[in-house]
């Protein structure tokens, strides 16, 4: 099989962080004589906990106790438990790369468009410095990482947002990278998975940022016409312009437990109406109850749930 491999998607490999020879396998598409696209069948490797980085975005240095249940959680325990509190199930915010590690088959992630970066198109005061800081803090060029990946042996296009990059707000680059990810999914015939977390449109980019809502929605409209699968994974928090565009336009919406998901943030709502908000308001479980999302799954089960969904859509896509 390997001999028939086409390497057309591998031009970006020099920018790749985790690429090695085996990673290339995942981006390869096989064609049979009928011109129909088929997913490469790579045997799912054993599910095991992948090595995670030491960083937990919402854990203060030296903080030993869970911010929700206040129980002692050691760093090792946390890292071994998908960065979820073993006592109360609180899902710590994880970095985009950690999430990629947790979700994809080992060494199978091949990023694309990694070189795209924002420019201060409105000359917004202080934005240039913010971008520099965000790049340093997150180690990413922008607030989303996109690429090819295999999950449970199934080839996919994957996008993961990075909350440490300006609260993963959507500016022109995030919008463009999402659109290009859908373009590539349409080219390759792969299903697409986007893991969102975002404060909304990036205010420093003004209307350019807002228009990315329309832009991403337009691409998804085309994507749906091809009959391919789009799974959206909502993580804490997904609000504003991201929730009101690509994040909610999926065939299947999965959320992590306790994630804040909505259009307007709870503080603004409270200020506007001056009432106490209901318990669990805008949390995943609340939205499940109100019929807005399909599934709530803990982080430890995300990978298997997505693999199962990918398997069930094998016949249906293209």
């Amino acid at each position: 099989m390997r001999g028939r491999v086409s390497l057309r998607y591998c031009q970006v490999l020099d920018t790749v962080r985790f690429a090695d020879q085996s990673a290339r396998k995942c981006v390869i598409m096989f064609s049979n004589n009928f011109g129909k696209k088929k997913y490469a069948s790579i045997k799912p490797e054993e599910d095991r906990i992948k090595p995670l980085s030491q960083t937990v975005a919402d854990k203060l240095p030296g903080q030993k106790n869970c911010p929700v249940c206040a129980n002692f959680v050691s760093d090792l325990e946390l890292i071994q438990n998908y960065k979820v509190c073993p006592h109360c199930g609180y899902h710590y915010t994880i970095t985009a790369w950690d999430r990629i590690h947790l979700m994809v088959d080992e060494n199978s992630f091949v990023p694309f468009d990694a070189g795209l970066s924002s420019c201060n198109s409105l000359n917004f005061p202080g934005y240039d410095d913010k971008l520099v800081n965000a790049k340093q803090q997150s180690g990413c060029n922008e607030a989303i990482i996109t690429g090819y990946a295999s999950i449970g042996g199934y080839n996919t296009v994957l996008g993961v947002m990075e909350s440490r990059f300006m609260m993963a707000s959507m500016g022109a680059v995030v919008g463009e990278k999402i659109c290009r990810a859908f373009d590539r999914a349409m080219e390759s015939g792969y299903p697409i998975i986007i893991c969102s977390c975002s404060g909304g449109a990036r205010m420093q980019e003004g209307m350019i940022a807002l228009m990315q809502m329309a832009k991403t929605s337009a691409v998804i409209s085309r994507f749906h016409q091809t009959g391919q699968l789009y799974i959206s994974v909502l993580t804490h928090p997904t609000t504003g312009g991201v929730s009101a565009s690509f994040a909610t336009l999926a065939d299947i919406i999965i959320a992590e437990p306790g994630a804040l998901i909505g259009f307007t943030g709870p503080r603004v709502i409270q200020q506007t109406i001056g009432e106490r908000l209901p318990e669990n308001f805008q949390r995943s479980e609340f939205l499940l109850e109100h019929g807005m999302i399909d599934i709530v799954k803990p982080r430890s089960e995300l990978r298997t749930t997505i693999s199962s969904l990918l398997k069930l859509h094998q016949g249906g896509t293209k």
Binding site: F124, L210, M211, K215, A247, I273
Partner: protein, 318 residues
């Protein structure tokens, strides 16, 4: 001290009243000041004109929110020969913050949709200050598909501070409803023209703003989020709202520069509400020209162009 209301006209009125008093006084004292008064009057008129041609972005925000500013209903009733309002989203209710229906414009049936603010406090409450709930967006969705079925062009009027930040709105999926409309608009196979007649705020406004042509009245604004929200979130300082209004690039002229607004409709000196007839007439002419052009296009090509236009909104470095 930050101005919270547009009061230039009031001040001008006071000045004119004083002048009239002076004139009356001079008459009783049998002094002929008429030539001096004429000079002063024309000088005042000149200053007023300059003022309106050089409004700051923040002044435009205030003017766009002026209580007397013409609403969507005013434009629809003036521009259309006949109009039948249609109600309800068929799921939950009818949202008075968005009015919509079928109308005859220039001898042709069109679907009209607009945010509706109120004319006075009671009316404003009735229309929820033009802030739609999800049922408003679902009504839009229904009418868009209806327009496509009957091959009617769509004219949208944008005038809202944003989607309503309320508990019910979130429970019923504000983000989902807006995203759906964005997706539908991007692929609708009939001509769409959007007119920003007042204040365009955030995603709640954009839901009527994905169009083949975006027209803006010269004092209208369109912003990623209100300057107040941006100032308090980004700078934690509401007093810097004027500076924020500058930085966000929200005026019709800024947006024409950014390639988001296609055409600017000149308002009379003093704003649309001081001479509604001439504003409406200018808008009618522009709508006629644009509509005639769009109707002549093949619907598939139209969707293609709309898509390309959206995809081009990307300011970034590769």
């Amino acid at each position: 001290m930050i101005k919270r209301q547009f009061d230039y006209e009031d001040k001008y009125q006071q000045l004119q009243d004083k002048m009239r008093e002076l004139l009356d006084l001079s008459e009783t004292m049998q002094l002929d000041l008429s030539s001096e008064v004429d000079i002063l009057n024309s000088r005042m008129e000149q200053i007023r004109e300059d003022k309106y041609l050089n409004l700051t972005p923040w002044e435009k925000v205030l003017l766009s929110r002026h209580i007397e500013r013409p609403t969507s209903r005013d434009y629809i009733e003036t521009l259309c020969d006949e109009w039948i309002e249609l109600h309800g989203d068929r799921y939950f209710g009818d949202d008075p913050a968005i009015i919509s229906g079928i109308a005859e414009f220039n001898g042709m049936a069109v679907t009209v949709i607009g945010h509706q603010k109120g004319k006075d406090t009671k009316d404003q409450l009735l229309h929820n200050f033009g802030m739609p709930n999800p049922e408003g967006y679902r009504k839009v969705q229904r009418l868009l598909l209806q327009a496509e079925k009957f091959k009617r062009p769509v004219i949208c009027f944008i005038d809202t501070p944003g989607a309503y930040p309320g508990i019910g709105a979130e429970e019923r999926g504000q983000a989902w409803a807006i995203a759906q409309v964005l997706m539908t608009l991007s692929a609708l196979a009939v001509p769409i023209i959007s007119v920003v007649i007042g204040e365009g705020g955030s995603g709640g406004a954009l839901a009527l703003g994905v169009a083949d042509r975006m027209l803006m009245l010269s004092n209208a604004v369109f912003s990623v989020a209100s300057p107040e929200a941006c100032a308090s979130i980004l700078w934690k300082d509401l007093d810097r709202v004027e500076e924020m209004a500058n930085a966000l690039k929200i005026t019709a002229f800024d947006l024409a520069d950014l390639g988001i607004a296609d055409e600017i409709i000149r308002e009379p000196i003093g704003g649309a509400h001081l001479d509604f007839a001439s504003t409406a007439e200018a808008l009618r002419k522009s709508l006629q020209i644009n509509l005639a052009f769009l109707i002549a296009q093949d619907p598939i090509a139209l969707v293609e162009q709309r898509y390309d236009k959206l995809r081009k909104i990307a300011r970034l470095s590769e």
